[in-house]
């Protein structure tokens, strides 16, 4: 333990920072050692729990790990010197501006403030663990947070009230917001006072045995759900009951505890449901009969599945193209609860007809539609905005999914939106909440798509030199802006556009480039081995980049990258980080999208060739129109993101470091 402790202490600068920064007050100094112990503790845990960290719903706020240590709005310390307060308060503005660390701050405050110094050694461990687990992922954090008993939650509210009664405290307002607005996390962390008092130090001693720690963590994990659910309720009560703080919070909270426990089961169910809802189910396996049947019942649109399905792709949905529309129209005005918002409906139809294609365009269209939806939204009676809006968004998302399976970037955007909604403060009025969400969506579109594209363009243009021959495949909007920008800078280069059936997206790009006066070479994908010999750079877009570095992109990109790699031509992938995804994938079969097989039948401009007319009559002939493929990481020389130019091996790093960013 000792040796490990030492090493961790050195290796993890962030964690060390976590341990020390809040300990700015001298009185907390003894915590340092216990903090270290906790670090070890934390490091053990990741292995022990979280069977699927990825699937943990993003409902909980993603905190900035950096922010975690910052002691934020301080509730008035009961037994403390007031010296501390301004110090802590000084961090507040940044925090509140960033909106980053709210979940933790009250917690830490609570601890520092509420817990007498005798409990000191106790505090920092959980404190540290919280912070570090935040870095590990939300599930972990929950685990650690779970430890406090629900009974203590009420006190936070009380603190808030207390603060309000003490106007001389500078940080009051901020604190109040935190305490009241963040229903779940802040409260949980406050707890460790009572029983934990004895158990915690014990636990620390036992962490020497890793198993023990694991057990503990598991137990805690089980409790999370209960407590996080209970938190809301209890907190609400806490606010309602404007008790004097002078009263022993313990006794009171125990009362609350019993009251809340009754409700717990119901709430728990609700939260479970919510959780389930939030777990994205893009991976529904369509060869699972029972699930497909269930999904059909729920589905808004009746879709007839094609009879001629390729055996290898039975797990992916394939519907008769165009069959959705009539049933959709029939249902549109009937089922009021289910039907999508008109803007969403419009976007869905545009997906269906293929008017909007490309990851960014689809994502922006979807977010704009959701903006409309939120603008027009009004909370039904006896419902909360958070719950109801989430459900509404879910409905609309499922509608979009039936129109065309979501791409990964859209999934990320939806996840972001839902997180924002879930994090809304209960105190906000409906109009405020709506405008807040809309502002968030705008910010997302600006920061994650527009600015990111600008940044990528700036970076990528530096890679284009005079005399270059640049090859691109299909039509990627980022690559297009790069080419246009490089051209406007007066660089002399040639563009080769490689295209493939059946989408022939490159033709659109060709037209746009020609329209801007850029000379191009155009060819089809089979000729890529010929044309690659005169090319010296390949720029490709991506639908998504997965955490093992593979690039999930328009079908054919992998072939182009492979050929480029074989001819020693560097392949550069231009992709915004919001398209990154934690999933890993090895081949293009497990997860993909099937297009309309009939698109393969017609060859534009070749009337003589109609061999396949009536192909569906033959039971032995199948047509496969795959939409995406997976490019192994070793074909990729470089990924150009708005955060810089990185090798594909750095994708998981970006995912880990930047996903905690509040915007996602």
């Amino acid at each position: 333990m000792d040796s490990r402790r030492g090493s961790r202490f050195v290796i993890d600068p962030k964690i060390r920072q976590v341990g020390f920064v809040p300990a700015g007050c001298e009185s907390e100094n003894p915590n340092a050692s216990s903090a270290v112990a906790a670090i070890a503790n934390v490091d053990v845990n990741p292995t022990s729990d979280s069977p699927s960290p990825v699937m943990i719903p993003p409902r909980l706020a993603d905190p900035l790990p950096r922010a975690a240590p910052l002691p934020v709005p301080s509730p008035p310390p009961r037994k403390h010197t007031s010296v501390e307060i301004p110090l802590q308060g000084s961090y507040n503005p940044t925090d509140s501006v960033l909106g980053t660390s709210p979940p933790f701050s009250p917690a830490s405050n609570g601890r520092y403030a509420g817990v007498p110094s005798s409990e000191g050694p106790d505090l920092s461990p959980s404190f540290v663990s919280r912070a570090s687990s935040a870095m590990e992922g939300m599930s972990l954090r929950e685990d650690h947070l779970g430890s406090p008993s629900a009974s203590r939650f009420a006190t936070v509210g009380e603190y808030a009230m207390f603060k309000q009664q003490q106007p001389q405290q500078p940080a009051t307002a901020v604190t109040k917001v935190y305490a009241s607005s963040l229903p779940q996390e802040p409260v949980q962390s406050f707890a460790p006072v009572g029983k934990e008092d004895s158990s915690k130090p014990l636990k620390e001693r036992t962490t020497k045995a890793e198993r023990r720690a694991k057990q503990e963590a598991d137990r805690e994990a089980k409790r999370i759900a209960k407590e996080s659910a209970g938190a809301k309720v209890v907190e609400g009560e806490a606010r309602a009951s404007s008790n004097v703080v002078g009263k022993a919070s313990r006794a009171q909270s125990q009362k609350k505890d019993s009251a809340s426990e009754k409700r717990l089961s119901a709430v728990e169910k609700a939260s479970e449901k919510e959780k389930k809802k939030e777990i994205p189910a893009p991976r529904m396996q369509f060869d699972d009969q029972s699930r497909v049947a269930k999904a059909k019942k729920r589905a808004l649109i009746e879709q007839t599945e094609t009879k001629h399905r390729v055996e290898l792709f039975r797990h992916l949905p394939q519907f008769v193209y165009g069959a959705q529309l009539p049933s959709l129209e029939a249902k549109f005005f009937h089922d009021d609860a289910m039907h999508p918002h008109p803007a969403v409906y419009q976007v869905g139809l545009q997906y269906l007809t293929g008017d909007i294609t490309g990851g960014n365009a689809r994502c922006i269209a979807m977010l704009s539609a959701f903006k409309e939806l939120i603008k027009d939204y009004c909370t039904p009676r006896e419902r909360t905005l958070i719950r109801d809006l989430t459900a509404r968004v879910n409905n609309n998302v499922s509608f979009l999914t039936t129109c065309r399976p979501l791409c990964i970037s859209m999934g990320n955007a939806i996840r972001f939106l839902k997180t924002r909604i879930a994090k809304l403060q209960l105190t906000l009025s409906e109009s405020d909440a709506k405008s807040l969400i809309i502002a968030e969506i705008d910010r997302f579109m600006q920061e994650k798509i527009n600015y990111a594209d600008n940044e990528i363009t700036k970076l990528a243009v530096t890679k284009i030199k005079d005399g270059d021959v640049i090859l691109t495949y299909g039509s990627s909007c980022v690559v297009e802006t790069i080419i246009l920008h490089a051209f406007s800078l007066g660089k002399k280069f040639r563009v080769v556009i490689v295209d493939s059936r059946p989408k022939l997206e490159g033709k659109g790009l060709l037209r746009r480039l020609l329209g801007r006066g850029i000379s191009c070479t155009y060819s089809h994908i089979n000729a890529v081995t010929y044309i690659i010999q005169e090319v010296n750079k390949v720029f490709l877009g991506a639908s998504s980049i997965l955490s093992n570095g593979t690039v999930y992109s328009r079908v054919g990109s992998a072939s182009v990258a492979m050929v480029a790699n074989a001819f020693h031509v560097p392949v550069m992938i231009c992709c915004e980080t919001y398209k990154f995804h934690e999933r890993v994938q090895l081949d293009s079969i497990c997860f993909n999208e099937l297009g309309d097989p009939d698109a393969l039948v017609k060859i534009p401009g070749r009337k003589g060739l109609s061999e396949l007319e009536g192909w569906s009559q033959s039971s032995h002939l199948k047509l496969l129109n795959l939409m995406y493929d997976v490019m192994p990481a070793d074909y990729v020389s470089m990924i150009i993101t708005e955060l810089g130019m990185v090798p594909p091996t750095s994708v998981p790093v970006i995912l880990r470091e930047y996903r905690k960013d509040p915007i996602l």
Binding site: V310, E311, L312, D499, S500, R501, P502, K507, L510, R511, L513, L514, G515, R516, G517, I518, S519, C520, T521, Y522, S523, H524, I525, N526, A527, V528, T529, Y530, I531, Q533, R554, V555, G556, A558, S559, M562, V563, A566, D587, S588, I589, N592, L600, I603, G605, R606, L609, E611, L612, W615, S618, H620, L621, K622, L623, L624, N625, L626, Y628, D629
Partner: protein
């Protein structure tokens, strides 16, 4: 230079036009037509009694050079010309051997045995034998010089002896040469025709139950190969369309009609699906002497993908596709550029091209062939069996005369 007869001349010109206009395409058809044409030329050619074989070779060469020049990309033309030349040389040698044997016999019967004569004739027979059998090996190559010397001297002696014999005999000899050459060409034609069947016969050795085969475009050999295997085995086929000709669609339809489980995929999806494929089977346009193959465009990409997943890349090729040349920048010198209208309709982009800013230019690239280097080819299946690419040079040496590798 010996000119062919008028009739033959007309036929040659006709064939040249067809080749130039690309009205004759596909290696099998071209090979057949070339052989038939050469047969006609040879049969109509009047031969002088002295050195008839040389005349014949001259004629075939002159015709051959012209039809090769008509479509230098269609390498089978050159191959068939070389094969015919090889046949003529072989027949000449065997005839000489026969006549020598005759001469020998007469010498033996007429005169007393002189040691010189017998040893000389024995050497001649041996040399002629070597020529006929013509199994090129290092040993033969080393001995080629003395044998040719003896051959020439014995040819002159043969000529002397012929001078003595009657003119009718001469005529019969010329006739015999012509006849046997034409026989040889007929055999060649038969070989070309039966190539599909010969290759298909080997299908069962390579295709097993429940296999997944990928192919691209349409090749008659591949179709026959798969259909033959279908008789005994059940398996699945992925067919890539093969832009810009999209003959994969035809092949897919044909295979499905033969009750073979077929899936047509776009060319772009090849990489996505190749990981589930057990074998790639394609037809070749030409096989080069180093074992590399000229194939329809797009197959190099498939070969690379197959290599990535270590999937065997099997090429079906008839012997008439075997070229004695080594590829020298095959992408440029052995390729053909097709019409841009195959890949893009001018009307689609015409509005962008005229009167726009800066008058941009548009190039379209529509090559016909890919060259797959030998290291990407796992197996070559010809009508005489399966070979590795590294063995091709040896087959080349067997079927062509070294003198004809470069036609002049």
């Amino acid at each position: 230079m010996v000119a062919p007869t008028l009739d033959a001349q007309a036929a040659v010109n006709d064939f040249i036009y067809k080749l130039k206009r690309r009205q004759v395409e596909g290696s099998l058809v071209t090979a057949r037509l070339t052989a038939v044409l050469l047969r006609q030329v040879i049969s109509q050619q009047r031969l002088a009694s002295s050195a008839p074989a040389a005349t014949l070779i001259e004629t075939v060469k002159s015709v051959g050079l012209r039809i090769i020049a008509a479509n230098p990309i269609e390498l089978t033309v050159g191959n068939v010309v070389r094969r015919v030349l090889h046949i003529i040389r072989e027949e000449e040698a065997s005839l000489e051997l026969k006549s020598l044997a005759d001469v020998n016999n007469t010498i033996l019967s007429d005169d007393e045995e002189s040691e010189d004569a017998s040893s000389f004739s024995a050497a001649v027979v041996a040399a002629a034998n070597r020529n006929v059998l013509r199994a090129p090996s290092l040993h033969n190559l080393l001995e080629s010089l003395p044998s040719s010397v003896t051959a020439t001297c014995n040819a002159s002696s043969g000529g002397e002896s012929e001078c003595k014999s009657k003119s009718g005999e001469k005529n019969s000899k010329v006739w015999r040469l012509k006849h046997s050459v034409i026989e040889g060409i007929n055999e060649l034609l038969q070989e070309i025709d039966s190539y599909h069947a010969q290759v298909a016969e080997q299908a069962l050795q390579h295709i097993h139950h429940n296999e997944v085969i990928m192919t691209c475009g349409r090749s008659h050999a591949v179709l026959q190969f798969l259909l033959e295997a279908k008789k005994k085995r059940t398996f699945e086929v992925f067919v890539a369309e093969g832009a810009p000709r999209y003959q994969g669609q035809t092949l897919a339809k044909e295979l499905a009609d033969a009750n073979l489980q077929t899936t047509l995929i776009a060319d772009a999806a090849v990489f996505a699906l190749i990981s589930r494929v057990n074998m790639v089977v394609v037809g070749a346009h030409a096989v080069m002497a180093d074992g590399g193959v000229m194939v329809p465009v797009g197959l190099h990409m498939i070969a690379l993908a197959a290599r990535r997943h270590t999937i065997p890349f099997v090429v079906l090729a008839g012997l008439h596709k075997l070229c004695p040349q080594y590829p020298q920048n095959p992408y440029i010198f052995m390729n053909d550029m097709k019409s841009p209208s195959d890949i893009i309709d001018f009307s689609d982009i015409s509005d962008c091209l005229d009167g726009g800013i800066g008058s941009p230019s548009l190039q379209t690239v529509n090559p016909t062939f890919d060259f797959v280097p030998p290291d990407l080819v796992s197996l070559l299946i010809t009508d005489i069996g399966g070979h590795t690419p590294s063995y091709v040079y040896r087959i080349v040496a067997e079927y062509y005369s070294a003198e004809d590798f470069v036609l002049r």
